[in-house]
């Protein structure tokens, strides 16, 4: 196999909650103590994204999937770990050195109502990145490119002088996709790009993303909570829980034979059209807060198969016979 386009290695991200030194001081049992708290959003994630594939990252809120996306794009700096693009480490680059990657790597956001600058026309929104990354282009070249991308996402180029708020949610998301495509990227991170849209519009946008992938040979890192979309759209899937990857496999394999108990529960919870009643696997309790991580396997508190080892030892990803990877002691020991 060729080397991956994007390589994420033992990535960690903590958000400090405790504020300044003065705010950290607590008075307990007759003495002052310094108390530091942090949200452990990502706790050691390794992922490879291969050229031309769509890697989907799924999980529930607080699992760190969006943090992975934002860290890969450089919107957040990692607390530990490395991010490589095409063999180059990029997480510590700054200023001029990072500019080429700012063109090659693009992002599509969740909320099309917030991701377009309300004071800019569509033409301005699309022209600015092209002018910025291709300063040598003439005005005509820039305009032609804007027309081309608007055309490719199904927005009439004559609407360029309008503002974002004059468009519907679906159209705005098309414009946001056009902005990402305008600078000819190789890799696109899509952070829940359809979850703010209506059902009939979701299909339009997913089709558009698939068309764009084919015609521009794009690689996607697709963040979503919607497993039905993953099944349709993803080449491979990474399931995240509390900042860790608990299962990673080809989409087909994962949906046919989910190994991790959490993946199994997640799959069973999708409301399917053919169901007459909810028939999900019942989990105990709810997702713990990422402030105080459980010891051992992060899932042990809700897992029906948890034993003492699960409560103490953190499971590592191991290869399964299906070609995937799973982090679960029960699978490793053959209990599951």
């Amino acid at each position: 196999m060729t080397s991956p386009l994007v390589k994420i290695r033992s990535l960690e991200k903590r958000f400090d909650l405790s504020g300044s030194l003065l705010e950290q001081l607590r008075f307990e049992n007759g003495r002052f103590r310094r108390k530091q708290e942090a949200v452990h959003a990502i706790n050691g994630v390794d992922l490879d994204v291969h050229k031309g594939e769509t890697l989907c990252v799924v999980g529930e809120s607080g699992c760190g999937k969006s943090t992975v996306a934002r860290t890969v794009m450089g919107l957040l700096s990692p607390s530990a770990g490395e991010i490589h693009y095409d063999g180059e480490r990029i997480d510590h680059l700054d200023g001029k050195a990072v500019q080429p990657y700012r063109r090659k790597m693009q992002m599509i956001f969740q909320n099309p109502y917030a991701s377009l600058n309300p004071r800019m026309t569509i033409q301005q929104t699309l022209e600015e990145p092209i002018r910025f990354h291709y300063p040598q282009w003439s005005a005509t070249e820039v305009r032609d490119k804007v027309h081309e991308v608007m055309h490719s996402v199904g927005i009439d180029p004559d609407w360029g002088s309008r503002f974002g708020h004059e468009f519907s949610g679906g159209q705005r998301q098309r414009i946001a996709i056009a902005r990402a495509l305008a600078v000819d990227p190789e890799f696109i991170v899509a952070d829940e790009p359809i979850s703010a849209l209506d059902v009939s519009i979701q299909a339009q946008v997913l089709n558009l993303l698939m068309d764009a992938q084919e015609s521009c040979s794009l690689t996607y890192l697709f963040i979503t909570h919607d497993l039905a979309v993953v099944e349709h759209f993803g080449t491979r899937v990474a399931v995240m829980y509390l900042g860790r990857v608990c299962e990673l496999a080809d989409t087909k394999t994962l949906f046919a034979t989910p190994r991790h108990p959490y993946t199994q529960a997640l799959l069973s919870a999708i409301p399917r059209l053919e169901d007459d009643r909810p028939n999900h696997i019942r989990l105990q309790g709810e997702v713990p807060t990422p402030v105080q991580l459980p010891s051992g396997c992060v899932f042990h508190g809700r897992c029906p198969y948890a034993n003492d080892r699960c409560r103490q030892e953190i499971p590592q990803l191991i290869a399964t016979d299906g070609g995937g990877q799973v982090a679960c002691h029960a699978v490793e020991e053959g209990r599951l």
């Binding site: 919107l75 909320n111 377009l116 910025f132 009439d156």
Partner: protein
């Protein structure tokens, strides 16, 4: 959706702004009055019967003439004359000009400082924010008038009366502008904090745009409406501050009177029965400040920003 492009003017005419303006009688009236006063001030040299700055046109024999309609009035001076024999109508026209100039000038300066510091504090955050906002706090804890009095007095003492008279207008713009920038800076900072969380700012960062471009091209235009509202109110405040300073003798000299210094100059004669020298410019000042404040209120309602009211 039609494909026809809409001009800016059409867009404006269809906007909520214009719609609510048309329906608000107070806003329309205030705008008309303000427009009238601004135009009168701008065209004062052509409108005024005499030039109050030109000593040759002043005759001390005409001093303290009452307005038309009262005993001893002279038809040449419809609003009467002041203690030096200047035509009060002309003096008020020129005075409004000076007051408005200082008001707008001071707010321009406040705006420039406030926007710059507010953007830096809000967008960069951290230490920059802490330092700038503490400076703003310290400055706000002194009353504007107090600062102005001290600075004004120092300048007056070091330049002497004559020199001070020449630079007074710039001085006042500078003092009021510098003393009140924290008001605007805080408003800007608050909106920047709200805006910078929005995804369009992330989108700009992902594109690789620099900090300056993101702050000024992307965030600033989205914080303009609260700035606009607070700036309107600040113009009125600046005019009042100037009037107060002038009244205390630290503002415009009597040779180039503003509304405030006119009120002050007439105040000495109120006991001798020449009330109009104080009252008429006072009324003009009240009307001017009132219409600006009414417009400011209306703007705030229309734009409805959750703004910090200083």
């Amino acid at each position: 959706m039609t494909t026809a492009t809409v001009s800016r003017w059409d867009r404006f005419r269809e906007s909520f702004f214009w719609y609510s303006f048309k329906r608000d009688k107070i806003a329309i009236l205030s705008t008309l009055v303000l427009l009238l006063m601004v135009l009168a001030a701008i065209f004062a040299p052509w409108l005024a019967p005499t030039d109050p700055y030109d000593l040759a046109q002043i005759n001390i024999m005409n001093s303290e003439l009452p307005p038309v309609g009262l005993d001893g009035a002279d038809a040449a001076f419809p609003l009467g004359t002041d203690a030096q024999g200047r035509d009060l109508l002309s003096t008020i026209l020129y005075g409004t000009r000076v007051s408005l100039l200082i008001g707008f000038g001071a707010v321009l300066l406040q705006g420039a400082l406030g926007i710059l510091f507010g953007l830096l504090a809000g967008y960069l955050g951290g230490k920059v924010d802490a330092v700038l906002m503490r400076i703003a706090d310290v400055q706000l804890s002194f009353s504007t008038l107090m600062v102005a009095i001290i600075v004004g007095a120092v300048f007056k003492a070091s330049f002497g009366n004559l020199m001070f008279g020449e630079i007074a207008i710039y001085m006042l713009i500078f003092i009021i502008g510098v003393a009140e920038w924290p008001q605007i800076a805080r408003t800007v900072r608050a909106s920047v904090l709200a805006e910078k969380k929005k995804e369009y700012v992330d989108a700009a960062k992902v594109m690789g745009f620099g900090t300056g471009r993101i702050m000024f091209r992307h965030i600033l235009p989205n914080t303009l409406s609260p700035i606009f509202v607070i700036a309107t109110v600040q113009i009125a405040n600046a005019i009042i501050s100037e009037a107060a300073l002038s009244f205390l003798g630290l503002g415009m000299p009597e040779t180039q009177p503003s509304l405030g210094s006119l009120i002050k100059s007439g105040f000495d004669y109120i006991q001798s029965g020449s009330w109009w020298i104080t009252l008429i410019p006072g009324l003009v000042l009240v009307v001017l400040v009132l219409v600006i404040n009414l417009l400011g209120d209306w703007l705030r309602d229309v734009m409805n920003p959750r703004l910090y009211k200083g």
